[in-house]
């Protein structure tokens, strides 16, 4: 599709941008990437110029602008090579959407206390009990998906899907903050890190000139 543009935030910190970007890459879309560094005085004005909600990510195609990660993912999944973003089995697809939606609106404490920070040298950080409860819920979701996966791939539903794009920033948080994990969860995080587009994103994140001391979720 010609003329696609994806506006994103700093790769080191913008977890929502990572999700949409991974989905667009997986759908083999060719798109122009506009990085809007967050947390600067001029950020808000630049964001409003690129996104009706004033938030990134935002995907534009001519006059149509699609903001919000989950809407971008559903829209990308409708493109010719995007169908593989959701599992082909209807029940699996419903489950993938349920956990993706849960990630989309939930886990507020995890996001607040352990923000994505790809420039952080991995080290533990103390967190309150509500974060521990959310981590336990995520590990339960992952374990259930991994136990039921229909094919042998390393991701939540075997092959890489939108659900993995949704949980990829969580895998980076678990590593950056050295969160102790079950073996299943640790292996899943390894699979996310071994996904080639993920490596590309992380390398670009580390090379970014901007540093935010206390990144927002």
């Amino acid at each position: 599709m010609a003329g696609l543009c994806l506006a994103i935030g700093n790769k080191a910190y913008s977890s929502w941008s990572l999700r949409a970007w991974l989905a667009a890459k997986h759908a083999e879309l060719t798109f122009e990437e506009v990085v809007i560094p967050l947390d600067r005085p001029e950020s808000a004005a630049e964001l409003r110029q690129h996104s009706p909600s004033g938030r990134v990510p935002c995907l534009s195609h001519g006059p149509i602008r699609v903001w919000d990660t989950l809407a971008i993912i559903e829209t990308v999944a409708e493109t010719p090579k995007g169908a593989k973003l959701w599992p082909t089995d209807r029940a699996q697809r419903a489950r993938a959407r349920a956990i993706s939606a849960e990630m989309h609106s939930g886990f507020a404490a995890l996001r607040r206390h352990l923000p994505m920070d790809l420039k952080r040298k991995p080290a533990p950080l103390a967190y309150p009990a509500e974060v521990a409860a959310e981590i336990a819920r995520i590990e339960a979701i992952w374990a259930e998906c991994r136990a039921a996966r229909p094919d042998g791939g390393p991701f939540l539903f075997g092959a890489f899907s939108a659900a993995d794009a949704m949980f990829a920033p969580v895998a980076t948080r678990f590593r950056s903050y050295a969160v102790p994990l079950s073996r299943t969860s640790a292996e899943y995080c390894d699979a996310i890190y071994a996904h080639p587009p993920m490596g590309e994103w992380i390398a670009a994140a580390i090379a970014e000139p901007w540093t935010i001391e206390h990144p927002k979720p």
Binding site: P52, A71, E74, A94, A101, H104, S105
Partner: protein, 209 residues
Amino acid sequence: MAELTLVIGNKSFSSWSLRPWLALKQIGLPFREVLVLLRRPQTKAEILRYSPSGKVPYLTDGSLGVWDSLAILEYLNELKPEAGLWPSDRGARAVARAVSAEMHSGFPALRQHLSMDLKRKPARGEWPSEATADIERVRAIWTECRQRFGSAGPFLFGGFTAADAMYAPVVTRFHRYGVSLDRELEAYRDAVLALPAMREWTDAAQKES
């Protein structure tokens, strides 16, 4: 098709339950309703009887269970694509999903300070400035959708879509807390409130103890 069952919370205040319930009614899929009273000592155990995820709303279709209102709406769209739960035009559909997703993860101040309460007698409420900002954003979304995509009917994208289901609880909040709207948005609010399914839900909500 196996019988659909929707597990919901109290109709007077469970805004997340209203969304998929209204969508099911609007697209005419028969379903069994299971209502679990929230905020009681036994609530958690009750929900877990029906919803292994521990969450409402929860839709079951035979052995399949789907939780989260937005995931349920996408599932309903797959069950009955001809019902037009999303707009048929690709651009309009993308924007409908964007405004729905923004509702799904946003507007925390609106949700906190103007919580859905269908037993409240409509009267002007008070709220802090961050809720005002959320209200402004909702007005902007509704205005843009109505102007760009709404010419074929009274709803955000003309005919009723999942986006209207997502914003239906907001419509009730604006009504109950006396949020002022311009004439065009008032007409939209009234179109949602006049839906027979909305009246059915509201009547049931007001009879709840």
